[in-house]
């Protein structure tokens, strides 16, 4: 056993709705790769953010090289030799690699010593297999190259302990291989590495020790050679998920939403959606399960007409809406509860009533068409919105109050009220209960089941396994842009799903 370099003792961190870290103990050792495994919300990111000074722990202590450390900000963390390679690179795209690297390093004197900096960069990069052209402009580089710059940045600042947050999510298999070479080189030089991931195969391949977190607690610690994927998946996902008895949906024959062979690129021009095919029938809840960042965002954006599909089709009620305008798609009776509820769903400057009529403001129910203009029927609007408030149990306020004064749960209800009042035939719900408390979550689940029973097709995108198992009729698991398997909910087990979500494809037998 090599020397302990970081000791986190009894770290506890509470957020308003959730206990993110519950008395967690963690040790990091020199020359060792320690993987932090767990689903989203398990607490791994929070724990590392505390180590890096981005969050403050409510309880607990951090020891670095045996000394108690007070890490109040990233600056302190960097001074203690901790470096973090973020998921979203903190680089200025318009500058060159070496310019990015100079910032905040010891190299920074008034007159930039470009030659000296370049030499230092090249030397360092050779040492660890992080070759990158110092004069290249960052925006031209591949994700793998950009990551190398991030790694070099931490090394230039003297990092002994490197935290990698989901580093392989944006890499090609080749780049992943190179990254692992780098990690091994770092380890051989005595660095301590933390590898945060939900990709089981990779974790097993690169780590020495694996710590599994679930619901804010450490549920197990194993050496890589002593365990296997199945065991890890089980630890990640747990056996606590009760088989909730729910009424089976009455599935109609015809699909209301059909996606076939859909492909799309993400903002960085990489393939994010790879040949995805799904169908949702009337009265059916189909879930797309998977950890965020595996292409779900891009998938929903394509369905909504906010992102271009490079190939494939999206068909709603028999009508091909691929790459059509959002307006056309909405007109096909597609409703949407977006992942970024407020950012995509609310008009924060306006009163509640005006939020509730968004989308319906030109309907004959709420407006009168005249040759001059469409006039809003104010009385009807007031009545209608008041009814909605009652129906969705939003109390203590009036339709003319500004919406921004409402609590988070009530804001969610406003969005639901608005979307559902438009009577969609197909509902796209993306992480609908994220950040909600138990009561609000139950409310949303009840609502979704009601919709299904009424014959509406629901496409639920979620990373919450419990939610998926509770609500779905059919489950499709998405990993790295592909659907790795589709199961019927009755026959799915949480272990299976856990494995699929972590990238382990299932043997043919279970595919529907």
């Amino acid at each position: 056993m090599s020397e302990k370099i970081v000791e986190m003792k009894s770290i506890t961190k509470k957020f308003p709705n959730i206990l993110a870290n519950d008395h967690i103990d963690l040790q990091l050792r020199k020359g060792e790769v320690c993987a932090l495994l767990g689903e989203n919300g398990a607490g791994k990111s929070t724990l590392m953010k505390i180590l890096y000074g981005l969050y403050h722990a409510d309880e607990g202590q951090i020891l670095i090289r045996g000394q108690a450390a007070n890490i109040d900000s990233p600056k302190d963390a960097i001074a203690s030799g901790i470096g973090m390679v973020h998921q979203h690179f903190a680089l200025d795209d318009k500058l060159t690699a070496v310019e990015n690297l100079i910032l905040g390093t010891k190299q920074a004197r008034i007159l930039l010593d470009m030659k000296g900096a370049k030499k230092e960069v090249i030397d360092l990069s050779k040492k660890f297999g992080l070759e990158v052209d110092p004069d290249s402009k960052v925006y031209q580089l591949s994700e793998g190259m950009k990551q190398r710059i991030e790694i070099l940045k931490t090394l230039l600042r003297g990092a002994q302990i490197l935290i990698f947050d989901e580093p392989t999510a944006v890499l090609t298999p080749l780049e992943t291989r190179d990254l692992f070479k780098t990690i091994r080189a770092l380890v051989s030089q005595g660095h301590a590495i933390v590898f945060i991931s939900h990709h089981l195969e990779e974790v097993l391949s690169i780590s020495d020790r694996i710590v599994v977190l679930r619901n804010g607690k450490v549920v197990g610690e194993k050496r890589a050679e002593e365990t296997n994927e199945a065991e890890l998946a089980q630890m990640m996902v747990g056996r606590e998920i009760e088989e909730v008895s729910r009424l089976k949906g009455r599935k109609a024959a015809q699909p209301v939403l059909e996606i076939s062979g859909l492909c799309a690129l993400n903002d960085k021009k990489l393939e994010a959606v790879k040949n995805v095919s799904l169908s949702v029938r009337k009265g059916e809840i189909v879930s797309v399960a998977g950890v965020s960042g595996n292409g779900q965002k891009e998938l929903t954006e394509v369905i909504l007409g906010m992102r271009k599909a490079t190939s494939g089709k999206v068909v709603i009620n028999g009508k091909d809406v691929t790459n059509k305008s959002t307006k056309t798609i909405i007109q096909q009776k597609l409703g949407c509860i977006a992942e970024d509820r407020i950012g995509w769903g609310l008009l924060m400057d306006l009163p509640i009533a005006e939020n509730l009529i968004l989308g319906l403001h030109r309907s004959s129910k709420l407006s009168t068409k005249t040759p001059v203009a469409n006039f809003l029927k104010t009385q009807e609007i007031k009545q209608y919105t008041q009814q909605l408030l009652t129906r969705f149990d939003i109390r203590g306020t009036d339709v003319s109050a500004p919406v921004k004064l409402l609590s988070g749960g009530n804001l969610q209800k406003i969005i639901l009220a608005r979307v559902l009042s438009q009577e969609p035939e197909i509902l796209l719900a993306s992480q609908p209960t994220r950040g909600l408390d138990v009561g609000a979550t139950e409310y949303v689940h009840k609502l979704l089941l009601e919709l299904r029973d009424k014959g509406i097709g629901v496409l639920l995108v979620s990373e919450d396994l419990e939610e998926i198992l509770t609500l779905s009729d059919t489950i499709a698991v998405m990993f790295r842009g592909e659907i790795v398997g589709t199961l019927s909910a009755e026959s799915a087990t949480s272990e299976q799903l856990g494995l699929m979500m972590a990238g382990i494809k299932q043997p043919e037998g279970t595919k529907q």
Binding site: L91, D93, L95, I102, L103, I110, L112, M114
Partner: protein
């Protein structure tokens, strides 16, 4: 017959020299705004600062008979205004364009108010001073062609060009330039690198304000010898455009300013010569002088249309920075 004069050698040299001379106030304004925008702030108060600078320089010089004191007073005013502006743009950060309009309106009012207060409502007589004279640099001015163009300018002009060169060096070769650039492109990245986004912006905005005020002062104590109400004539607004046309790079902004100085000089010359007709390929085309007056503004819009794809603007321009804790 006027045509011959147009293409005489002497004419070209005189035009070149005039372009640089007339562009001087634009140079300062553009430099100031370029610096400010590189740090991510859009300051639409240039015109207001210029008129304030013009007034300050003029009245100070008039009262103290010292041109140098006029310059110093202008710099002080620039600092004061700059600090207020950086507080607003940096800490409030939202609605930057509208704040810029507010500053412009207030500064115009202030400048005219103080001028009228000092000189009273004396109609008819215009107070004047003895302005700066161009400084001829001995040996260099004797170089054929380049000499009279470059080395018989005002001290203001020499300083302006030197400043542009200095900033070109700063942005390319120093850490300060890098810091400003990153703050303007991606404040979050700058923050994680331990750079103070607020402090960088305060410096950029305040320095920018000093330059803008100086640009105005050039008009009243060098190019002209009085403070006329229309003395700035929209140069402050043009500077905003010039920064875009110069793609936020120092030397390009300098050339953009000189080019617009050329347009201005050409228009003045044509007006002075009474030319309103030019023969192009055998046919007489009437070109009204107003076309030249409008040219800077038209060119701006055209350039914006063309450059909207390639515009290299600081990515975080106009985005107020709040550190999410």
């Amino acid at each position: 017959m006027m045509q011959a004069e147009l293409i005489s050698f002497g004419f070209i040299i005189a035009m070149a020299a005039a372009s640089i001379r007339i562009a001087t106030s634009l140079m300062y304004a553009t430099l100031g705004e370029m610096l400010t925008e590189r740090s991510g702030i859009l300051n639409l108060g240039i015109e207001g600062l210029m008129i304030l600078g013009a007034m300050t320089a003029f009245i100070t010089t008039y009262a103290t008979h010292s041109l140098e004191l006029g310059v110093i007073a202008t710099i002080l005013v620039g600092v004061a205004e700059g600090l207020i502006m950086s507080l607003v743009y940096g800490r409030i950060g939202t609605n930057q364009h509208v704040w810029g309009v507010a500053f412009t309106i207030a500064n115009f009012g202030l400048a005219y108010f103080v001028y009228r207060l000092y000189f009273g409502g004396t109609a008819g007589s215009l107070s004047i001073i003895t302005p700066y004279a161009p400084v001829r640099i001995p040996i260099l001015a004797d170089i054929p062609i380049l000499g009279p163009i470059l080395f018989e300018q005002y001290a203001y002009t020499y300083v302006a060009i030197i400043l542009f060169v200095v900033f070109a060096i700063v942005f390319k070769y120093t850490i300060w330039g890098l810091i400003i650039t990153v703050v303007g492109d991606n404040p979050a990245v700058a923050d994680t690198a331990g750079i103070s986004v607020y402090r960088t912006r305060y410096v950029a905005v305040t320095l920018g304000a000093i330059f803008m005020a100086l640009g105005g002062s050039f008009l009243s104590i060098a190019q002209f010898n009085a403070f006329l109400f229309e003395i700035v004539a929209g140069r402050g607004w043009i500077a905003i455009a010039l920064v875009t046309i110069g793609n936020w790079k120092p030397m390009r902004c300098l050339f953009a300013a000189i080019f617009f100085g050329f347009i201005d000089a050409l228009q003045l010359r044509l007006q002075a010569l009474g030319i309103s007709e030019i023969t192009l390929a055998g046919t007489a085309v009437t070109i009204p002088f107003q076309l030249f007056l409008a040219l800077p503004y038209v060119l701006t819009i055209l350039f914006l249309l063309i450059a909207s794809r390639r515009a290299d603007y600081p990515t975080a321009l106009l985005t107020p920075y709040r550190r999410e804790e």
